[in-house]
Amino acid sequence: MIEVESLTKKYGDLVAIRELNFKVEKGKIWGLLGPNAAGKTTTMRILTGYLPATDGKASIGGYDVFEQPDKAKKITGYLPENVPLYPEMTVHSYLNFVSEIKHIPSSKRKEAVERSIETSGLESVRKRLIKNISRGFKQRVGIAQAMIHEPQVLVLDEPTIGLDPAQIIEIRELIKSLRGTGTILLSTHILAEVTQTCDGVIIINEGRIMASGSLEELTASFKEKEGVIIRLRRGEKEISSLLKNISGVDKVSRKEDEFTIEWTKEKDLRDEITKLIVDKELGLMEMRPLAMSIEDLYLKVISGGVEQ
């Protein structure tokens, strides 16, 4: 649904993004991850037709955003970084205005406005002036305006910024509920957001794509070793030496009450380890795979400059 081909944007001499290539398939949620000034907002502004690109191609739903901007804009919902709100309007009249400029036919307009008020939980503030509502509600109005015309593609620039934890969860649930029907590209610098809501991630830094792919693919490709982390009820003293006796185990390390056991890729030693613990009656309380966290991945990609 979203296709970007060698997209470049320069502001004078400053290169904001350089030769970006990526694709988001229909029904998927992808995250655009990167530090500040990495080019996330610029990319989104180009995709939504706010800025023209210096070079390259971008299309939404098969419509080129430069050649057929109206068609592309019609199927795109966009939440900019700074929510575009008119402080002197009420929530209801604002959404009504948006429904007009997004070409919702007048017979369906009322229904669309009501639906967006309901899904975004704005019922209690519908008659209030936007300047008088809280930051969290403003953000929700922003999300409501992006979704009011039931777009096929949603571009969300930092959708959960400024919200409290409960609202963040709500918004994430809302985004997840669109999986399968809507195609979503969201930018964030909150790493947890990516792991919790996204199918794939594009990590960009200084205008370049440093890595992209589904989360599993990425963590797998950056991970050198397999391993598990275990917690035991008993036998903390002897366990280290016992584990090292299992053939294939490279390293056992301890951090408080957790033991990290690593081995080289290829093999899977989980069966052996479990068997050992059960035989010795050490009381296995927890065993989890040594996954590379998104934080590790992010830091590695951003600092190491690993290019794919």
Binding site: Y50, P69, K73, L85, P87, Q145
Partner: protein
């Protein structure tokens, strides 16, 4: 057309749900009322004096003695007020970053500009229409000619429309409303008094400066002379202002 109307409606709402339009219209009407009142008083004293001389009495003309100067006074009020009515049209969108909503919606730049322009014209229309109520008194108590009054109002409207277009242009240049108002006012005043320079300029330049001046074209209309040159002048001025606005917005986005 629908898109223009959507933008226009939004701007009209902003004018009329905030105090802007009410304050502007009220102040405008108070000033127009004051000018009208003093002109009528002056006209009265003149007519009392001239009543002694039948020849001069024939010459007494309310259109020339009240309406023509009144229209000139109104045009000055418009010159002072219109920059304040247009200053927020684009500047505020930029400041609030709501322009991002407009430009990422399926609207063309022209539709956005025209929507805003028509909304500002409506405010002008309301102002002029309400000031027309004063004419009830002159028609009830005297016998002015209606044609020069209508042509005078047409002149005011056309000139106001040209002022609005200039205002929109300067509003698109900056996100600071005050800067936009000052630039508009400066430009309008300059075009107003451009014909002063024509006194010293000779030949070709004299004609050019005279033609470009707001004042010259307006004068004809207040006296009931409906010349297409004047109408074309104001319309092309408006068109040019809007065209420049379009170029500014377009180039902003390409930079």
């Amino acid at each position: 057309m629908k898109n223009i109307w959507s933008i226009c409606k939004k701007e009209i709402k902003t004018y009329f749900t905030s105090p802007i339009a009410y304050v502007a219209i009220t102040v405008f009407l108070v000033l127009v009322g004051f000018f009208f009142y003093s002109l009528i008083l002056w006209f009265n004293s003149q007519s009392l004096q001239m009543a002694r001389n039948p020849y001069y009495y024939q010459q007494l003309n309310i259109n020339q003695m009240v309406y023509s100067p009144l229209f000139h006074n109104i045009s000055i009020i418009l010159l002072l007020m219109i920059p304040l009515l247009t200053m927020r049209l684009f500047s505020e969108e930029k400041k609030l970053q709501t322009d991002e909503l407009l430009y990422t919606s399926p609207l063309s730049i022209n539709q956005i500009i025209l929507g805003k322009y028509f909304a500002s014209l409506l405010v002008l229309l309301v102002m002029l229409a309400l000031s027309g109520i004063l004419s009830i008194f002159t028609f009830a108590l005297g016998n002015p000619e209606i044609a020069p009054i209508l042509s005078g109002y047409l002149g005011l409207f056309l000139m106001g429309a040209a002022f609005m277009a200039v205002g929109i242009f300067f509003s698109s240049l900056t996100e600071n409303q005050i800067v936009s108002a000052i630039l508009t006012f400066g430009a309008l005043l300059l075009f107003w008094i451009l014909n002063w320079a024509s006194y010293s300029a000779g030949g070709f330049w004299k004609d050019v400066l005279n033609y470009l001046s707001f004042f010259q074209h307006f004068d004809d209309l207040t006296r009931g002379i409906l010349d297409t040159t004047d109408i074309v002048y104001y319309l092309s001025f408006s068109f040019f202002g809007l065209f420049l606005t379009h170029s500014v917005i377009q180039s902003r986005r390409w930079r």
